[in-house]
């Protein structure tokens, strides 16, 4: 049973080795372990958000992804 991990924007380039799927359930520590130390460091930045199942987490350390959820790693936006 799996959780999908999606990297957005510049994180795509930096996280080529991050697995697309990891075992469910997935919490904050599990995520940091799954993405490797470089991406983990970036995730700790306040400007980097995490969405789970289509919702941005107010407190990303409270991540609790279940089977079938998609976890998106959202770096600072640069739109328009």
């Amino acid at each position: 049973m799996a959780v999908a991990i999606v990297l957005l924007g510049p994180l795509q380039d930096l996280g080529r080795d991050v697995p697309g799927q990891v075992a469910a359930p997935l919490d904050w520590d599990g995520l940091l372990a799954a993405v490797g130390p470089a991406i983990a460091e970036l995730l700790r930045d306040d400007r980097v958000n995490i969405a789970c199942a289509g919702r941005v987490l107010a407190d990303k350390t409270a991540l609790d992804a279940r089977d079938g959820d998609e976890v998106a790693l959202l770096p600072p936006v640069s739109g328009g």
Binding site: V6, L8, G9, P10, Q12, D13, A51, G54, V56, E70, A72, L74, P75, P76, V77, S78, G79, G80
Partner: protein, 148 residues
């Protein structure tokens, strides 16, 4: 009823604006902003990526907030994603209101949010090399003007 669209191909803002204006006759005023990919030195292309489950719902919420905050009759928010070239429109925001100040402020508000609080990531191609664009401090400052 806000008209909010995320488009992955080229669009003609004038067609959208003409339709938007025609659907709100005798309304007072319409303010519109159209942003294009700038011909900036050697920029060959620009790519905007987004996160499907968040981007469009977030834009719809922005349009609803603008409707309520600025007492709008209607609002149009259109944003391009994908690879674009200099001169191509990226964004078109149009607001119709009985009073001009509301229409102008609503466009300003929506643009500031699309720039720095919407789920878009931008990269530029120069000399065949893609480079991610960092958010500008100026954009955060623009956004902060609207906090209550």
């Amino acid at each position: 009823m806000p008209d909010v669209r995320l488009l992955d191909g080229p669009f003609d803002p004038n067609t959208l604006i003409a339709r938007f204006t025609a659907s709100n006759p005798g309304l007072g005023g319409v303010c519109t902003f159209v942003g294009e990919v700038r011909s900036d030195g050697d920029v060959e292309a620009l790519e905007l990526s987004h996160y499907e489950p968040l981007t469009l719902p977030n834009m719809r919420e922005l349009a609803d907030r603008a409707m309520a905050r600025f007492d709008l009759i209607d609002v149009l928010v259109v944003h391009r994603v994908g690879v674009m070239h200099p001169g191509e429109p990226i964004v078109c925001v149009s607001a119709a209101a009985r009073h001009r100040r509301c229409a102008i402020d609503a466009v300003d508000f929506c643009m500031d949010h699309l720039k720095s609080a919407a789920w878009f990531w931008k990269r530029e191609q120069r000399a065949h090399q893609w480079r991610w664009i960092e958010p500008r401090d100026e954009d955060y400052a623009d956004l902060a003007r609207w906090s209550e």
